[in-house]
Symmetry: C2
Subunit: 311 residues, 2 copies
């Protein structure tokens, strides 16, 4: 059976027809409308296009935010002006196909578990390092959803007490230290300091800003300032993974999102910081780290697969 | 079917014959021998006594430490000189009954879920505040065991970066801030400072030390210094629960161990600190807090029930 996955992001809506092996048969993309009603219309239009061209059995829709326990409703979303919309039933009526809603980071984690870096690993944690930090937890081969349906918000675990203010209303959240935006902030501070920050300062002068891909490019080329920025983000991420190990004890951490394009340049210092922060190191098994394989398609593939499985 | 639960603690071994309703039919207790071989002999002797008097179908044994994923072996225990002993098979041979091994905090959490404060609550976290802090996580009505069998080590999540040294080799672990020992330390500091600490200082002068139950007694009687010590421990515990909420999203936190005898004197400031540290408060459901009901019998009852269920 083919299914459709729709991933509603803050800037774009991606949709894809996905086959049972996790391969995308056709893919569409539009900009995300600001208005919630126009957004739903855009999703329905996209689905109409895809369903007209393919025999589709079910539809999955992924979005950032807190879903209700029964996943019929979006309680609260950082990017979209939704609050308590009965999104699932509304889409089901307009489209006439079974709809599965899922948190976007959970969908991406599920895709990596089923078809990507986590295949065969039933106890896995995925951290998606984009603008913020998304999390997904696989326990015994199932998504951890929690008592209210909003488990795995790993970007909002406290990393530093009384630390940087976070958009969630708290301070010191992991996503202030281990996201794409954190990488840019660290690179900016290093650029300000001169010395090894000189190449970063030149990039900033040329672009008017310090784009994450430029920082990553410099780091991959061995620039000392960019590598120091990566090392700081990696140290935070690795230390946080040590704490998650004590709670969840996964076999594998999968790191995704834009920052993960750094590959081993990121993972090596992450592993060091992780091992240095593990309680009881030496008398306990440790987890592996891997870079996500499905890149920007993970949300689409994951929620399409969840729809195929009817959950 | 009756089963036996044995809870091997650092100072005593408790054993009980438990019926399917979680009631203890007969209970025994001996001091924990220091030598690992004598310890196993003591367990076998206790089991011999209980099995001679009751028709027992299976035996559960709980101990602190890291168990192997298949729960046949104790990898590492803080109190007992075990390392890699094939404890389950050894006991099975000597006793001739099916043996179930479990981590002691997991056993206590399971007991509260099945017969205590967590009945009916399928997504629950238990924190046992004794000398250290033990943790157990129930997800969808099952114990969270993790990829290597050692999930739920909640006392060793990092609470303060570069904080107090912990016996696990790390620093800043929650159990340095929210255990019975932490309560004694806070009370000691308040006693040292004079002023509201005067009654605590008098207790210390009388006992040569500040026993936890004495601190609790003063706090329950409204002593300002003892209440401040409780408030500090409660603030750490509540803040840590806020972080666990983001990861695990439980419906309920159950607080057990000696410190939990404080009841609402402890829980009220815990709830305040928890709510103050929740990411996205106002747009998310929150968890309840309850005091454990099975007190010191939780480990015995929980592991006996796990044995009855064959897991």
């Amino acid at each position: 059976m083919l299914t459709v996955g729709i991933d509603i992001g803050g800037t774009k809506i991606a949709g894809g027809v996905v086959d049972p092996s996790g391969a995308i048969v056709e893919k569409l993309r539009v900009r995300t409308p600001l208005d919630a009603r126009e957004l739903v219309d855009a999703v329905v239009d996209m689905l109409g296009d895809l369903v007209a061209r393919h025999e589709v059995g079910a539809v999955g829709v992924a979005a950032a935010g807190f879903l209700s326990k029964d996943r019929s409703t979006v309680h609260h979303s950082p990017n979209i002006a939704w609050s308590g919309e009965p999104l699932r039933d509304m889409l089901q009526q307009r489209i006439g196909l079974p709809i599965t809603l899922e948190n976007d980071a959970n969908a991406a984690g599920w895709a990596e578990y089923r078809f990507g870096a986590g295949v065969g690993c039933d106890d896995m944690v995925m951290l998606t390092l984009g603008t913020g930090v998304g999390g997904a937890v696989i326990v015994g081969g199932e998504l951890l959803r929690g008592g209210h349906g909003i488990a795995g918000e790993l970007g909002h675990t406290r990393f530093i007490r009384d630390g940087r203010a976070c958009g969630c209303g708290q301070s010191g959240c992991l996503e202030q230290y281990a996201s794409g935006r954190a990488l840019q902030r660290e690179a900016g501070e290093i650029a300000d300091a001169g010395g090894v920050g000189e190449p970063l300062a030149q990039v900033r002068a040329a672009h008017g800003t310090l784009p994450g891909p430029e920082v990553a490019h410099l780091a991959t080329a061995g620039d000392a300032g960019a590598l120091e920025a990566v090392r700081r983000v990696a140290a935070a991420l690795g230390e946080a993974c040590g704490g998650l190990q004590a709670v969840l004890d996964p076999h594998l951490f999968v790191i995704g999102g834009g920052v993960a394009t750094l590959g081993e340049v990121l993972l090596q210092p992450v592993r060091r910081a992780y091992e240095a922060s593990l309680p009881g190191l030496g008398s306990r098994p440790v987890a592996d780290f891997a870079i996500a394989r499905l890149a920007n398609d993970a949300g689409v593939i994951g929620v399409a697969d969840l729809a195929a499985r009817g959950r």
